[in-house]
Amino acid sequence: MRTNVTTNRTTQFQVLSEDQCEAIYHNVLEVMQRTGVDVHHEEARNLLKEAGSHVDGVRVYIPPYLVKEAISLVPDNFIVHHWDGSGVLRLRKNEVYPGTGPSMPNYIDPYTEERRSFLRKDAADVARVCDALENIHFVEGLGSISDTTTELSDLYEFVELITNTTKPIAAWSFDRENCESIYKVAVAMAGGEEEFQRKPNFMFYMEPIPPLVSNHESVDKALFCAEKHVPAIYTPCCMGGGTEPATFAGLLTNATAECLTGLVIGQLKRRGAPFIMGGVMTVMDMLTTTYIYGGPELSIMCAGITDLGKYLDIPVFSTGGCTDAKITEPQAAIEGAISNYTAVLSGGNIIHDTGYSESGLTGNLFNVVMNDEILGMAFHIAKGIEVNEETMAIDVIDKVGPQGHYLLHEHTNRHFRTETWEPEMLNRLPYEEWKNAGAKTLGEKVKEKTRHLIENHQPPEVPESAQKEIEKILKEAEERVAREKVAK
């Protein structure tokens, strides 16, 4: 045997070196202390002040030791569960889980292919289709529901999502009240609060506002999550050249300061509260002002924030599978592929935004189904090359020799299934066979598969007790909103 061997178990991909991460991190600490951040939440400011920050109005100057302490307290790994116990997401360094994205105003109708408002039934379709897709590991709704009580569309979305898939949901809400209602639904699905505390089945998403502002609602929700031990995704949407510096390193510095502000507040509220940093890191298109979702800047900077998260030992929320294309066309495939591939290689934990299209304005379920296949390829590459006596096949090579073939060799039979990735929709037929089979393009196959899953995939069975509890929660929420309207 050979000794002293080093092997790569998987591919290696890193954009920031240890030194570069350190340099950015030191500047993050300086920004938080010297420049300061705005925190529009009194309780949070009080917590920060009591812990040693200097507070001036809404501006808070956070000393490095508070940041370092928070980093030492936050779990570097934790588990999010399927509500029925059928699976888990392990949020720890380099475990990658791609999924969809949240709350767009428009939606591509999966049958008419028209761009229209997002409806309650669409959220159910999205969850059911995602439930069936192998490489989609968590679910966000792809749209903001337009046909329920407006103030409660976030809650209705969550109900439709969690009752139509067992995969963990990354939820959002307008405010803390709805966040609490969503939490109650999740508790009902878990079978009680104690069960939920042991096996959380959703994560909660909130956005600070670049540059360096933590708004009231986001902080309010972050405090609630910390209190209830709900994994909090604290994620700025950064626009280089607009709301952040135009340079990648400058953007990452500000973005990290925004994330770590949420981290410090959460850890001050409850030590060890599960927290995920990250976000959508991209630039403003200086011709159209569009927030670019499909550009290479997004991929390189999401890989950058992932490296920073790994450097700090904090789980990372990354971005991929999104596009600026308006419909399912080659641009959507190219942008989805590059961003998901890069995000998978770089090792972001929760990789969101598959199905995001038209620069974050339209949800497209076709693109989710297409990206599921793309992710299959990405994972196959990420697995790397196994090198050992068996895989190097030196004796097999010697036996077959020149002008032979390997088709009949048992070595081939032993390995071809795991070494070869088999697409479901990408086409490899010879021309004539492809033509005879209807000459279908990838787009056509994607649409067929999407519709097939909408019509045929069986959603999980929701326990009757949970169903009743959810009805009660929705009724109470409707009553609350009605009361608030009268009060106004």
Partner: protein
Amino acid sequence: MILKKLSQAMIEGEVEMGKELAQQGIEEGLSPQELLDDGVLAGMEVVGDRFKNYEMYIPEVLNSASVMHEVMNIIKPALVSSEGDFKMKGTVVLGTVEGDLHDIGKNLVGLMLEGAGFKVVDIGIDQPAKSFVDAVEKEKPEVLGMSALLTTTAPKITEVIESLKEANLRDSVKTMAGGAVIDQAFCDENGVDAYGSSATAAMEITQKFVEEVKNNAS
């Protein structure tokens, strides 16, 4: 029961089980032709269908084909004492044309055809037109398959067709061609009866041609 199990062994690529079952069948007095038709070929037909429906992969199909070889070696000697020779589905002569050393596509077609119950005579790579003609004269196949991978060797297929005509053998055999540079248009223009875009296509073409020949004869 033995025949059913034997065909299952073919489908699952179980060499040892296939051999045992064939031996057992002979001992229990089943005829070699019965073992071949209702055991071996019945199993291989399922394999062929599954492959066509993308349910089985090529190495698995070939694995089943090698079980077939092993089983045939057992039932052949039993034949000597009975009716003489197997009735295979038909005969196919295969070869790669002159100047071309590409092997794998032709081999694959051969293995698939054998698996489907045809007798395959592979004359090898880099074969001049005369070798094809000689093989057709000697083996009297229903189908002749020609392989070419290069633009420079494709015209050799035309030479084979012309040589068959000169030897008055052209009408005695159906022809098919395949390989990276070959397409339907090439076959149409050069008097080749069919274009095989893949090993599966070659198998289907062969089945169709052999049936036609049988129907014409009867």
